[in-house]
Amino acid sequence: MPLLPDFRRIENFLYREARLMDENAYEEWLSLWASENICYWVPTSENETDPGQQISIIYDDRKRLEGRIKRLASGYAFAQDPKSRMRRVISSIEINEAADGTFTTWSNFALGEFRRGKQDIFIGRTMHQLRPEGDSFKILLKKVLLINSDGYIDNLTFLL
């Protein structure tokens, strides 16, 4: 693979991550994450700043994320039986490099999800904190701000 500038490599990484989520490639998606000290966070509100004392939709450390993935892959997670069929568009990517060599990216997504005869649309903004590793990256932190995070949602058991 030719050496791409950081921006293109990060963009590629986000697209790849999106495709793995779309295709319910649970284990492969999990392999994009760092092996410890990670946080997968979907708050109930954009203004939520204190997950320690506030409930989130998802606030997973590595152990809970592993449990989540194992459950989804077990064949007994009935909320994903049948599985969601999805495609999402990632756009408006902004990248900032921190002094410690990690990258913080913000991007928007539009996700179409089809399941049990009903198509839903989810729109949101995602923050990734990425650490370079080899010729790719590992996810340290991922925060997903759904525009309907404080609305009534029937099923968010697919990957965001």
Binding site: G52, Q53, I57, G67, A77, A79, T157, L160
Partner: protein
């Protein structure tokens, strides 16, 4: 009032089975709004959601939009969210703090106590508009128990105390008394989910100890892998119980199981200094014996009929939107007088299972959708609620008890439902409300040209 065909509930609800139309007939939902949600006590919210003067949160009692607010004098009030002029909602924000509610349409302004404070160009009413008769309409009755606020759209009826009864009050006590100050906080955010099925599936499922080992197999597998022990309170041979507390209130009762397995669980879960500190504070408030009782129960798992579900750390409220559409709101609670560490653990524990991305509850929701689909096959309309009917028995405290996996809870819900839905209280809530407040007279008095 619109007249509807009269429904013979006795033909739909038998002791051991119920008819599918109870979940599919829109007339029955309309009837539920008129009876279940209008005559008796309905749970509205908790004082912990509105701790300061001016705090409000929008709620519903059946179809009625309600503002639950703490006014300037620190009094909790339930006010209908409807301008007395032209009927617009006067409060749009889901929650917040406000001294006044102002209708944007023509500028009528109400104090947070409900009083009508200002009417623009009031002289246009010819000097006869009586503001004191045109405040936001209060919910006719409101009563509280341990900070839980209940409302009734009917000005007459049994007291909240009689509606709850001692056994249900004891369960609310166990939920709240986990706090060494005897108070919960309801400020930790909200989970919301909806589903394409009838609201009563949520009531039943929450009190169904037969389903977890199957619907939640994948969650239990995960727990087993992560902590090394599989929760088995829902096994066919467990010592867990299910209980009918009367008046439609029912519960899954883990206390006997917990007593037997306390040692086993303690050996798995680490005891931190924070735990020890908590235990010390509990004993200081409640004494050794009651503390042991509270900690053994670990909260409760109960339905307060018709719409308050207490499970683990959460207050859960189902709200029918249509006969096949339900919104459910979950308020995870934290405990006053408890370390941030323990409260945080409460929230993380809740989050694992509940919410639209939880690892348990969405599987329940999937079952509701499947049931709503399945019961369209109604040439054989009956749904069974007979499990354990041969082994339920009256306990010393008068409650009806059976095995954890038994459906004594569902029978408790449905027998009370039948009682409420087949009763024929002559006066409707609307005629009650009119006779009490006489708004027609107020409007006549304030109209520029009376006598229409």
């Amino acid at each position: 009032m619109m007249t509807r065909r009269k429904i013979d509930y006795r033909s739909l609800i038998k002791r051991d089975r119920i008819h599918a139309s109870l979940y599919t007939d829109p007339d029955i939902l309309a009837d539920e709004f008129d009876k279940l949600f209008s005559r008796g006590w309905v749970y509205v919210g908790h004082v912990g959601e509105i701790p300061n003067p001016g705090d409000f949160r929008l709620k519903k009692i059946g179809r009625q939009p309600v503002i639950m607010v703490r006014d300037e004098n620190d009094d909790v009030r339930l006010l209908l969210n409807r301008c007395r002029h032209r009927g617009s909602t006067v409060c749009q924000l889901e929650a917040g703090n406000a001294k006044t509610f102002r209708c944007a349409y023509h500028g009528w302004t109400y104090r947070n106590s409900g009083e009508l404070a200002g009417v623009p160009y009031q002289e246009g009413y010819g000097g006869s508009l009586r503001k004191e008769d045109l405040g936001l309409v209060p919910v006719p009755r409101m009563e509280l128990y341990r900070g839980f606020i209940f409302g009734s759209l009917s000005p007459a009826g049994i007291t909240l105390d009689d509606h709850l009864g001692a056994p249900a009050k004891q369960q609310i006590d166990l939920f709240v008394d986990l706090s060494p100050e005897g108070e919960i906080k309801v400020q930790a955010g909200i989970h919301k989910f909806d589903y394409p099925a009838n609201w009563k599936f949520q009531l039943e499922n929450a009190m169904d100890g037969y389903h977890p080992n199957f619907t939640h197999q994948s969650f239990l597998d995960m727990i087993q892998e992560q902590i090394g022990v599989r929760p088995d309170v829902f096994n066919g041979n467990s010592s867990g119980e299910s209980r009918d507390l009367g008046n439609g209130h029912v519960m899954l009762d883990y206390r006997r199981y917990n007593r037997e397995y306390a040692e086993r669980i303690r050996s798995v879960l680490p005891t931190t200094p924070a735990d020890e500190d908590y235990r010390g504070r509990m004993i200081a408030r409640y004494g050794v014996e009651r503390t042991a009782e509270i900690l053994n129960a670990g909260g409760t798992h109960a339905l307060i009929f018709p719409n308050l579900i207490l499970i683990g750390v959460q207050i859960r409220v189902p709200q029918p939107r249509a006969v096949d559409h339900t919104e459910v709101t979950l308020y995870p609670t934290t405990l006053k007088g408890v370390s941030a560490e323990l409260n945080s653990a409460r929230l993380r524990g809740h989050e694992a299972f509940f919410g639209p991305a939880g690892m348990g509850q969405p599987d329940d929701v999937e079952m509701f959708a499947r049931m709503q689909q399945g019961i369209q096959a109604d040439i054989e309309p009956w749904i069974l609620i007979s499990r354990g009917i041969h082994r339920e028995h009256r306990d010393d405290d008068g409650t009806l008890v059976a095995h954890a996996t038994d459906e004594v809870t569902l029978r408790g819900i449905w027998s009370h439902y039948l009682k409420v839905m087949s009763s024929n209280t002559a006066a409707s809530r609307i005629s009650h409300a009119q006779s009490r407040r006489n708004p027609e007279a107020a409007i006549r008095r304030s109209a520029a040209e009376p006598g229409r």
